[in-house]
């Protein structure tokens, strides 16, 4: 049976409506806190309740200092959340508000300049906008 698995090629990451150039990997991550509610009656197994969720998106790309100084670096000093959008290749779009929490660059002697963006999502995410 053939698979309908999607591929990453063609995916677009946008900040404030502008596509970020040279992105080659996007990794969203969602976690919920677990709240330990174990008590004397729990026996030998701990009990939990689900707490608040948080989402972080990391994006790897080829680092272009010339174009990313405005497309990316300028967002590092933004203090207000901005509209982010990930356009997956199957036509699904993820939208959320967030801010650029971190940026890591890498300039190896024998390799290409690359970078990683760390985006902290604030609030909920819309998975089909």
């Amino acid at each position: 049976m053939s698979s309908s698995a999607g591929i990453g090629m063609g995916t677009v990451l946008k900040i404030g409506g502008f596509a970020i150039a040279e992105i080659k990997n996007i990794s969203p991550s969602i976690d919920f806190d677990d709240i330990d509610v174990s008590d004397y009656d729990s026996g030998i197994w701990k009990e939990y309740k689900k707490g608040l969720g948080s989402c972080e998106v990391t994006a790897d790309g080829n680092w272009r200092p010339d174009i990313h100084k405005t497309d990316v670096m300028a967002h590092l000093v933004n203090t207000t959340a901005q509209a982010y959008r990930v356009e997956w290749t199957d036509g699904t779009n993820w939208t959320f508000n967030g801010f650029l929490q971190g940026w890591d660059g890498n300039g190896p002697h024998e390799g290409a300049l690359d970078m990683t963006l760390r985006i902290r999502v604030t609030g909920s995410q819309n998975y089909d906008a």
């Binding site: 090629m9 063609g10 150039a21 080829n62 002697h109 290409a112």
Partner: protein
């Protein structure tokens, strides 16, 4: 093309051209080529990719072989090849080609022994490089 740019750089070096003239061949030397001569072989070319496809930046590996019946000549040629290409370690333009950088990876020695009793062996030097360029 990066291949012709590499050849142009080697040809422009006075030490190299003084020893081999224009006998700098792609992949295989000509039948009429007398020693010494250079052969360059392009290996793996890697286009730098992103989600939209090829970024326009590529890297390609090359082997530049120097061949001579004089051991000292291949040592001179090997050093000259490294120096000529190392001048582009921080990039430059060669004609219409933009080279972003050249990394000299290593230089290896080679020797082709004689096949017949009265033949002479041939000494070689193989310089391996990685060239980054815009396509």
């Amino acid at each position: 093309m990066i291949d012709s740019a590499i050849r142009t750089i080697l040809l422009a070096d006075a030490t190299i051209s003084g020893l081999v003239g224009t006998k700098i061949r792609a992949r295989v030397a000509h039948d009429a080529d007398a020693l010494p001569y250079l052969v360059y072989i392009r290996g793996r070319l890697l286009p730098l990719l992103n989600y939209q496809g090829q970024s326009g930046t590529c890297s390609a590996r090359f082997e530049i072989q120097s061949w001579s019946d004089e051991y000292s000549t291949v040592l001179t040629l090997g050093k000259a090849v490294r120096d000529a290409l190392d001048a582009y370690s921080a990039g430059g333009t060669v004609g219409a080609d933009t080279i972003l950088g050249v990394v000299i990876e290593d230089e290896d020695g080679a020797y082709e022994p004689p096949v017949k009793q009265n033949d002479q062996g041939v000494f070689g030097s193989v310089v391996s490089i990685k060239a980054w360029f815009l396509e």
